[in-house]
């Protein structure tokens, strides 16, 4: 964009939270409608047919993710994701990259804790070749040894960098503590110990177990109609096994609530991460929790944390809080970063604000403003094909129904002040696990109360 770096006054930077679900959206004035398409082979996709721009965006998700990494082999899902678009079928990695580049086809995969997700972007005129490329990536990945070693070395290098990055350390310590002895506890990208042990057989076995049709969610947006989508679905996904072979992952509560874990690192700015038990996406109180989180630290300058930490005291550039609804553990997670001599004060303010909202709930004015924001922000999340496709996949993963768009604003409007107060207590009254990295004056680790 320019010769110089770009600086942003309001950019909200999140700590490395591996599974951040998408922001919720309200009933829109949709320019187009969502259609549920079922292929002759029984594969479902949600489609928005939008011919105005000659592009097609496809997003999809397979249940699995790093929670399905074999024991001791953390990082398997990430390695698989990074390798699915290397060599496929008869094409080695060089030939496959050339095929993609020749038609400007963008294909990518990513693992989070619960899922292996992918995206395809193509010009409409190149769709047949793009669909074939995606089919090959899903059904015939090669995992050639040379490619595996290149990607493995890159991941190990990134893991090594993470060992001295304050935000990475804060995140790794948080997850490790909250989910000790649970698959959510290990970093999605694995560890320096585990990644070297993942074999090519492990990668092939993972792909075979996870890439299947029974918990597949697909969204298609762009210049393509329902009939063409049906044909695409059977062609691309039809060759996958009917059923995934997933290990059982237990529902779990975050551990270490009440603890503060301080890691010494010689950096000028201290990084603070905090979080606790959230509220499930299927819980009747979810929408109230979403509103309460917005008031506390969600995305807008008007949040209490933003006002108290940044605006009034200038303690931090970024302070934020989000709901993270993992399949087996709903959470809320937030973070900030400040100078060493103000770290104690900053953490104190964050904790006081959380306690104050838990004890007294929001005001009627805050509730009204939060509803107004959350209702009004909807169309802004639907102005590119990629954003729409990602949202449609998430709604399917969350099992919210294709009519969710028409229900959402009513669900928001239905939250009363009494609901918000009750749910604030429920969401924020349970205590926090805090990780701190840097050289904070006067802050020491503490055990649970």
């Amino acid at each position: 964009m320019s010769a110089a770096s770009m600086f942003s006054a309001w950019l909200v930077r999140r700590l490395a939270v591996a599974c951040l679900a998408i922001a919720l959206v309200t009933a829109p004035a949709m320019a187009t409608t969502i259609e549920r398409v079922v292929s002759p082979g029984g594969i479902v996709a949600w489609l928005v047919h939008e011919p105005a721009v000659p592009l097609i965006a496809i997003d999809f998700s397979f249940a699995g993710g790093s929670a399905q990494d074999p024991a001791g082999k953390a990082g398997t899902a990430s390695l698989v994701a990074a390798l699915l678009d290397e060599g496929v079928g008869d094409f080695d990695s060089k030939a496959f990259h050339a095929r993609l580049e020749r038609k400007a086809i963008e294909l990518g995969f990513q693992a989070d804790r619960d899922a292996l997700r992918g995206t395809l972007r193509t010009l409409a005129e190149n769709r047949e070749e793009a669909f074939e490329d995606l089919r090959l990536a899903l059904t015939a990945p090669r995992f050639d040894p040379a490619d595996v070693e290149i990607i493995r070395a890159q991941i190990i290098s990134n893991l090594r960098r993470a060992t001295t990055s304050p935000s990475e350390i804060a995140s790794i310590r948080w997850w490790q503590t909250a989910f000790a002895n649970h698959p959510y506890g290990h970093p999605v990208n694995g560890t320096l110990e585990s990644v070297p042990t993942v074999s090519i057989d492990d990668l092939k076995a993972y792909a075979h177990r996870v890439l299947a049709r029974d918990d597949l969610k697909v969204a298609v947006v762009g210049d393509i109609d329902a009939e063409a989508v049906k044909a695409m679905l059977d062609r691309v996904f039809g060759g996958l096994p009917a059923r995934a072979d997933l290990a059982v992952v237990a529902d779990v509560l975050p551990q270490g609530i009440g603890r503060r874990i301080v890691t010494r690192l010689d950096v000028p700015q201290t990084v603070i991460m905090f979080g606790g038990l959230g509220i499930s996406r299927q819980d009747p109180d979810f929408m109230a929790a979403y509103i309460v989180n917005h008031i506390l630290g969600g995305g807008s300058f008007s949040s209490r944390l933003y006002q108290e930490v940044r605006e009034k005291r200038g303690l931090a550039y970024s302070v934020h809080d989000s709901l993270v609804w993992l399949k087996h553990a709903p959470l809320f997670i937030g973070g900030t970063a400040t100078r060493a001599e103000r770290a104690t004060e900053t953490l104190d303010i964050v904790q006081k604000e959380i306690a104050r909202l838990a004890d007294n709930g929001p005001t009627a004015d805050e509730l009204a403003k939060a509803k107004s924001f959350l209702n009004g922000s909807f169309p802004l999340n639907l102005d590119t094909s990629g954003k729409i496709a990602a949202l449609l996949v998430q709604l399917q993963v969350d099992n919210l129904g294709i009519d969710y768009f028409t229900r959402r604003s009513k669900m928001i409007d239905a939250v009363t002040l009494a609901d918000a107060r009750r749910v604030a207590k429920r969401l924020l009254g349970g205590g926090l696990l805090v990780t701190v990295v840097g050289r904070p004056d006067g802050l020491l680790s503490s055990s649970a109360e």
Binding site: A3, M6, D85, G108, Q154, L265, D266, S302, D383, T384
Partner: protein, 449 residues
């Protein structure tokens, strides 16, 4: 491919900037007070992106006051006589809108993304803010601390960013692009209200601004609304031509080494001084764009193939060209050694690839692939109104014209293999470059180089 970008690449704005599609619908006009307006229709969602770009950035600061353009950007959110405190931000939040701002060496921009019906309201707020800002020490002082925390987060805590700052300072012997946009910390610490207001009065005036509106609007309604709002703001300053000190003949390659005990992955990077899109001779910046793509974009690029796949000397390698700037562009490349290889090994391998590109023409296939990909980027951009708005705004704020943006795909199409070779010969000249080494300790640097 691994979707984690190397850290060095993240620090620079990578991409085919300035490359919007030829869109005959883009409208451009100037109000009688000198304010320029660009309208980019996109009727897919009832949303509008409204931006104002001031033709002032860090390179326009008085020496000794580095960081002032960016500090003022933050202070622009502190209210005016007519709309005191955070009334503007509250109005954006009340309708679920998004807002943000950014500063580079050449421009400062502010934007809102809102439901279409609120465009005029945003214009009225933004017009008021051109000349109406009110600042008190009570709001200025905490915000200075926020900026210092931003510097901590982006630069002080991050060895890669610290190296990039030092490299820029070494690349420009005389031009103010050598100053960090966020400023040098000791100078940021001394900035105050009077500095900010003096800078504001000198540069914030309608005859120094460009408004870009992208979204569900017609040029006619935008023109009428702009005349009703922006049109009422009288120019308050004469704007002198932006003539910054020029670079002298650069005669000596520079090297910069940054040692930090936290560096777990050493790397080498290099910047070459080049023309920008604005200052280049016809075809020159397009040839540099194609050269950067062939040299260092993706897994089949020359650098990645040679260093990572074939010679196995590097974990990662790439190149980019930043073309959008008033005075100079920048051509960058980077590589990180494999364990067991030195920075010297990597740099030698990079230089061998560059020598080949200076001596021999690229293959017809490489040329076609690169051009197809770059031109496709312009079509993909049509899917994102905010991206289009940014491209036009950045181009106009750095001395380009709407026509230059629109002709970009055709100019890329016209690039020949000879032009790519000539660009490599002329601009990848060590005498006008700086090479940066990121290492764990100076002793390690000596041992390995």
């Amino acid at each position: 491919m691994l979707k984690i970008l190397p850290l060095l690449a993240l620090l620079t704005a990578v991409g085919a900037a300035g490359s919007a599609a030829a869109d005959p619908e883009v409208t451009h006009f100037t109000l009688t007070n000198g304010l320029e307006v660009v309208v980019i229709p996109d009727h897919r969602a009832p949303v509008v992106t409204h931006m104002i770009w001031y033709k002032v950035g860090a390179a326009d600061e008085t020496p000794g006051k580095s960081g002032l353009a960016h500090f003022l950007e933050h202070l622009m959110f502190k209210g005016t006589a007519r709309n005191p405190d955070d009334r503007f931000s509250l109005a954006v939040a009340a309708i679920g809108g998004q807002e943000n701002a950014f500063t580079t060496s050449d421009y400062t921009g502010f934007f809102q993304r809102v439901p279409r019906d609120h465009l005029k309201e945003m214009m009225a707020f933004e017009a008021d803010r051109i000349t109406g800002l009110v600042l008190t020490d009570a709001v200025v002082r905490p915000e200075l601390n926020v900026v210092l925390e931003e510097q901590n987060m982006r630069v002080a805590n991050n060895p890669n960013s610290r190296l990039a700052e030092q490299m820029d300072a070494a690349l420009y012997l005389n031009h103010p692009y050598g100053r960090p946009v966020i400023g040098w910390r000791p100078e940021i610490e001394k900035l105050n209200r009077d500095d900010a207001l003096a800078f504001y009065r000198r540069f914030y005036t309608p005859n120094n601004a460009i408004v870009v509106v992208a979204g569900d609007v017609t040029p006619e309604e935008v023109k009428a609304d702009a005349e009703d709002t922006y049109g009422k703001v009288a120019p308050r300053a004469d704007i002198a031509p932006r003539r910054r000190p020029r670079e002298p003949q650069q005669e000596a390659p520079r090297t910069v080494t940054l040692a930090d005990a936290r560096v777990e992955q050493p790397s080498v990077s290099r910047y070459y001084l080049t023309p920008s899109r604005t200052t280049a001779k016809p075809g020159e910046s397009q040839a540099l764009e194609v050269l950067a793509h062939i040299l260092g974009s993706g897994a089949n690029s020359r650098l990645y193939r040679a260093l990572v796949v074939e010679q196995k000397v590097a974990l990662n390698a790439g190149a980019y060209y930043s073309d959008t700037a008033l005075d100079y562009g920048k051509f960058g490349l980077y590589a990180s050694p494999q364990p067991g290889k030195t920075l010297h090994d990597v740099e030698e391998a990079v230089d061998a690839v560059l020598t080949d590109l200076r001596e021999n023409t690229v293959t017809p296939d490489e040329l076609t692939l690169a051009k197809n990909r770059l031109i496709a980027d312009a079509i993909y951009a049509q899917d994102n109104q905010a991206t289009l708005a940014r491209w036009y705004g950045a181009a106009l704020a750095t001395g380009e014209t709407v026509e230059m943006v629109q002709h970009w795909p055709d100019e890329i199409r016209a690039v020949t293999a000879d032009a790519v070779r000539d660009a490599a010969r002329q601009w990848l000249d060590r005498r006008s470059s700086v090479t940066g080494y990121l290492v764990n300790s100076f002793r390690a640097a000596e041992k390995h180089s």
